[in-house]
Symmetry: C2
Subunit: 405 residues, 2 copies
């Protein structure tokens, strides 16, 4: 049998392979091309020795539990540890009962989508927003409405206007999805007054908020206020997500959701059909990495490590980029977002030329946008290459911007 | 805010907490109650020392990869190892490109449900069938049709009758879901002629088959033919699932799907929004456990280990149970399924009494059935307790059966 189309669900039929993904997969083989596309952590930061010892010890000492099936919402001791961790690192006060362990943040997004979204519901995001969140919401049939950003993230006045308009038209708006600190792809961090305003809007218009917070454990400018939305949340409307993917190791696939108990219970019922529970061993490894102080110590090292790379990128941008480029200056996260203010400049169309002629890769920005715009934008990541490579990469991109249209 | 009902999707609203799950959660605290309910592996079988050393070594030697993000369909070397493994253990010939690594078999079931099922589609299963599969198919809106079993599993003549009837009514039947070896909960294993017949029916009526095969690595009677359906599959209609949960450790949450390339590609596109990829570290651990021979060696030990427990259960059943009980005699898996042929005997209603008066627990069989029947059935597991406990548990259940109605 060759053609399976008649067996495929309408949901799955809508998902197309991304051409860009394919192109980017190919450049991994090309040593002459500098990739600013990726966005994965620099593996030199992984605390290998410490994690190897923790993994060994968890299996030897706790193997009866660590290798066994476990509760859908996550091991109790692990959720207790995460509750301490959230308080210490993010000032968030929640019990273990408010926490559900997920198989990475991506599962948290999918779980939220399945638990909250009916086809046709509206979800509000930044414009641009995180690609895999857009995907998870869209395959549930959500209609996405993007709110423009400036250098400080989502413009909450425009947010309120838009919510008012949607509500007055009788649209069903379920939640606002936001990455307040170190936004992917925008590279922005929201100031406290905007965070407060966002929570007020959720209260006024009866919405939930999904706060995605993977990057805030290391910040490049210590004077910046990075308190989470969740700490402004007196009405329990904020569903808070985080993960150890950026502060420990993404290959462990451990994330979590902190939410009101009633929602945690709903998430648990849905998750049980998704993967029964997240890997027990990985949960114990994460809990021990927190308990032993490894995560704390490690987070302290990550700030200067990635700050150097960010500085390299911003300095090179200032040196090489022409004036007709709008870009963000991140205080957290892995990304600088760029709009090229030049008639007809289309980053998707130019990607192949960028790779083959200029030997540099980026992620075209259009697919991060909710409104088919942003064809003149690109995401640049400084997390993986070393500083010299970053500088040379930016120089090559500046040539592309100057020479092409 | 107290009531979140207005935010919950219609899909999630339909999922109710299982009362039985709650009752069974409580008995974990009760040391005087013998539980034959569980069905989890005996942790004494976990090869802790070997896995601890493998985990340590994978992180030290391959940490750059093992702790990092990885491909959605699974690490290539791991899929290659699984391809060898499937050939050696199950006689299945597939390339790495036909294999997709999943976060346990449960994710495989959910992934298949999302990729193949549209609301209203019919899925055919054994009656009774695996609870978490029923759940995963139902939350996608499938209508389940159960085919009666006898002591040799699904009656394929009744299957063909039913398929013919459904097709003649114009119903959309997507696939047949089956556990041919060591069925959960039925305890049955299909003989070769039925397997062949099942595949022929799929060909004749243009259906797919989902073959769930977690238990066939250790069998209690070596004369039994346990070849998978997949080896009879000349038209590439069988989607084959397995996992290391029963032969190594369920806490690793590593399973896989072997399917035609076109379907593998579809599964990959959907999985990317579910959890990006399965834990990289766990994939490397499983691949190394296979490569080093640990899994093979371990599987050889599991057969006599669990055979002793199965024998204890069957001997006690023969000694204690009255004549009005129909039960299966498993050659694989962890379960004996029981129908009590006594007017008004309702295992759901009797569960509390069983626990409090007879100090024994089982899983009531009704929820395994697709047709609201089976209220006189129960699933008994011999995987976790030791042989003496199993015998005493069966004695207590026989008292329940004799005394209650």
């Amino acid at each position: 049998m060759d053609d399976y189309t008649r067996f495929i669900s309408s949901t799955a039929s809508k998902i197309k392979a991304s051409e860009i993904r394919e192109i980017l997969a190919v450049i991994r083989m090309r040593r002459d091309v500098i990739s600013l596309a990726g966005g994965i952590p620099d593996p030199r930061t992984f605390p290998r020795k410490e994690l190897a010892e923790i993994a060994r010890r968890m299996i030897i000492d706790l193997g009866d539990q660590a290798l066994q099936y476990s509760e859908t919402k996550g091991i109790l001791e692990v959720r207790e540890m995460l509750s301490h961790f959230l308080f210490e690192f993010r000032g968030i006060s929640v019990d273990a009962e408010n926490i559900l362990v997920t198989t990475g943040s991506q599962q948290a997004l999918d779980l939220i989508a399945r638990t909250l979204i009916d086809p046709g519901d509206i979800v509000i995001t930044e414009n641009p927003s995180y690609l895999a969140a857009i995907g998870a919401f869209k395959i549930r049939g959500a209609r996405l409405v993007g709110i423009p950003i400036d250098k400080q993230g989502m413009d909450t006045y425009k947010l309120e206007e838009k919510v008012k308009e949607l509500k007055s038209r009788g649209e069903k708006v379920k939640f606002i999805y936001t990455i307040p600190v170190g936004h992917n792809p925008a590279g922005t961090t929201m100031p406290p007054d905007r965070k407060k305003h966002l929570v007020e809007i959720a209260e006024k218009y009866d919405l939930l908020v999904v706060e995605d917070d993977p990057y805030s454990y290391f910040i490049y400018d210590e004077t910046v206020d990075i308190r989470p939305l969740k700490t402004y949340d007196s009405e329990d409307r904020v569903i808070y997500l985080s993960t150890v993917s950026k502060i420990l190791a993404p290959g462990l696939r451990i994330g979590w959701i902190a939410s009101p108990k009633d929602l945690t219970r709903r998430f648990e019922l849905v998750k049980q059909y998704m993967d029964l529970h997240s890997p027990t061993l990985n949960q114990f490894i994460v809990a021990e990495a927190i308990r032993s102080g490894l995560v704390k110590e490690h987070a302290h090292k990550l700030a200067p490590f990635y700050r150097k790379k960010r500085d390299a990128m911003l300095e090179a941008i200032k040196e090489y980029f022409p004036d007709n480029v709008w870009y963000t200056e991140p205080v957290g996260g892995f990304f600088v977002f760029v709009y090229v203010l030049k008639e007809g400049f289309d980053t998707s169309k130019l990607l192949e030329k960028a790779i083959n002629k200029y030997r540099v890769a980026y992620v075209p920005g259009k697919s991060f946008h909710t409104d088919e715009r942003g064809e003149n934008s690109m995401r640049l990541s400084f997390s993986y290459p070393d500083s010299d490579t970053i500088k040379e990469g930016i120089r090559r991109i500046s040539e592309l911007i100057k020479n092409e249209a």
